[in-house]
């Protein structure tokens, strides 16, 4: 069933606050959009709307974590990672406080709101902070499993979620072994590392290419930091050509994370698909993905040209 990852987050968080009295939820006036409102319905006494004040929200989360609580602090990805970057850096990551920052409405598929609301740098700026973990789940099942997983890790992390509804890649019976990568299509010669909703695009590309006699491997990289180096090296060693694809600037995101592993361990030429260091704009999510060449068609072209 198609569902936005933010919706899956709201449902799972509502379950978790029921189960664990140490979990508290903070939002910055966007509870209905980030879906933390689901947790508020279950445990209103552990839900704190901090108003349109993301820096203060992160500071409060740090204080709650320093008192043994497990805060989930949410807003749009742009604002909770951008506006509050330095609070995350100095009040959360530096003291290793157990704060879960969950940014929804990431990437260009925010759509009509336009570039001011389309975080395409969040992976980069979160990844650059020492000790900060960064996760980008691709569908509802992975999001639910991930939210449950991070509630147990006792480390700060950033979880990047989307606004738009996305098709299921997994189902409720799938088991996840974070931070390991997941090979969602076992092919040959070309490997595509994808994250977030680009996993679905890559799978669609693989399916299309199969009718032309090509079968690229598709890898879901949900954990961008820590990175499953061993798993990635294994894919690099067993494939000739590598593609990365992400709904994020090509600078500082998944592509550069994979490149870094490749440079150190298994040098390969890598084609990086992502936002080409430009801002997005208003439009429907699908139109934007098409305009900025982040759909399965672009991935098909990239694979085909590598196979020529």
């Amino acid at each position: 069933m198609a569902m936005a990852t933010r919706e899956a987050y709201g449902h799972e968080l509502a379950e978790l606050v029921k189960e664990n009295p140490r979990i508290v939820v903070l939002d910055a006036d966007l509870a209905g959009s980030t879906k933390t409102i689901e947790a508020k319905k279950v445990a209103p006494e552990r839900f704190f709307d901090m108003g349109i004040a993301e820096a203060d929200m992160i500071g409060h989360a740090a204080g709650l974590a320093a008192s043994g609580y497990i805060p989930f602090a949410s807003s749009f990805a742009m604002f909770c990672t951008g506006r509050a970057w330095e609070q995350i850096r100095n009040s959360v990551a530096y003291p290793h406080l157990n704060v879960k920052i969950v940014g929804t409405h990431s990437g260009i598929t925010v759509g009509e709101d336009g570039a001011s609301h389309q975080a395409i740098e969040d992976i980069a700026i979160m990844r650059a902070i020492p000790g900060m973990e960064v996760y980008v789940p691709c569908d509802a099942a992975e999001t639910k499993a991930l939210i449950r997983y991070v509630s147990t890790t006792k480390k700060p992390c950033y979880v990047r979620l989307g606004r738009a509804s996305v098709d299921d890649v997994y189902d409720d019976t799938t088991t996840f072994d974070f931070p390991r990568i997941k090979v969602v299509n076992r092919g040959e010669k070309v490997a595509i590392f994808a994250t977030g909703l680009e996993v679905q695009e890559a799978l669609k590309a693989a399916k299309n290419l199969q009718s032309y006699g090509m079968n690229p491997t598709v890898v879901d990289v949900c954990s961008i930091k820590p990175l499953d180096e061993a798993g990635i090296v294994d894919i690099l060693r067993t494939h000739d050509k590598i593609i990365t694809v992400e709904e994020h600037n090509v600078i500082g995101g998944l592509g550069e994370a994979i490149s870094s592993v490749s440079t150190n361990r298994e040098p390969k030429l890598i084609t990086k698909l992502g936002m080409p260091d430009c801002f997005g704009e208003s439009g429907k999510p699908r139109e934007l993905l098409e305009k900025y060449r982040l759909t399965y068609e672009t991935i098909c072209d990239a694979v085909s040209s590598l196979c020529d």
Partner: protein
């Protein structure tokens, strides 16, 4: 505790501030000396922190939001017997637990890592909310600089703490009127601090931050104040206790040379 005993502790704390900054040849003496009397009363008459419970959260907690006054916090923790006094001489040195700005994971008794101005009060109110959620009766204190109140985040937190009725939170402003580029008035017109807090719904107490009786009474009044967070706006003298540092912005973040160190310690009655 008798005021004369508080005075002795405060003087010893001031001596250690001078020694720390001299030994490191780096650090912030001015804003450490200005808040020494406030923290002496707070730590010796109000907070229930001891060496034994320093790592626990089941005690009163303190956030040094103006993290650059770390020489003061370390000296206070040493005065309380929580931090070995000889460790003060590692301040700001390589491999030391006593970082230039405090790290909560390095020093028992440091309740929040701070240094970037404007952030400590939010964490303190997070702790205050946590205490109320957990039924923990302990209080949370935060010391802010006046210049620090130029940071927007401070006012986000002032609004939130008022909204959530954090009466177990007490903010203390070390209002010495000086910041790096000049007076707080000249730099950005930071006036009427108490009125600002008042308009956000805080209980405001204005005192002389070097008068033990006034500090004590204010902290008692804060304890008794219900439904609203309290701010104590303490008028202080930057560099208090060392005549050539008093009201001199140049001593915000400068270490004394040997002669100045000796003169300062002499004024503070050290042998």
């Amino acid at each position: 505790m008798k005021n004369s005993e508080l005075q002795e502790h405060a003087t010893h704390i001031r001596q250690n501030i001078i020694k720390e900054v001299y030994n490191a040849q780096s650090g912030h003496p001015g804003g450490s000396l200005s808040a020494a009397d406030i923290l002496t009363v707070l730590y010796f008459e109000f907070m229930d922190i001891t060496k034994e419970n320093a790592l626990s959260i089941d005690r009163d907690r303190f956030v040094l939001s103006k993290g650059h006054a770390s020489p003061l916090l370390y000296a206070v923790l040493a005065e309380k017997g929580i931090l070995p006094e000889e460790q003060l001489m590692t301040f700001r040195k390589i491999n030391s637990k006593l970082q230039g700005h405090p790290n909560m994971n390095y020093v028992p008794g440091v309740d929040m890592s701070t240094g970037s101005l404007g952030q400590g009060l939010a964490a303190a109110d997070g702790m205050a909310i946590a205490n109320r959620l957990a039924g923990n009766p302990h209080r949370v204190y935060a010391l802010l600089g006046d210049g620090e109140c130029e940071e927007g985040e401070v006012w986000e937190t002032v609004m939130a703490a008022s909204h959530y009725g954090s009466d177990n939170l007490c903010a203390i402003i070390d209002h010495n009127g000086l910041q790096i580029d000049g007076t707080t008035h000249d730099v950005i017109g930071l006036d009427s601090l108490g009125d600002k807090f008042l308009s956000f719904g805080w209980h405001v107490i204005r005192i002389n931050g070097h008068d033990y009786e006034q500090i004590r009474n204010a902290l008692m009044e804060a304890e008794k104040t219900k439904y609203h967070p309290t701010v104590i706006v303490a008028e202080t003298v930057k560099g208090k206790g060392v005549s050539f540092m008093e009201n001199q912005v140049a001593w915000h973040g400068k270490a004394p040379n040997e002669e100045q160190m000796k003169e300062a310690l002499k004024e503070l009655g050290a042998e």
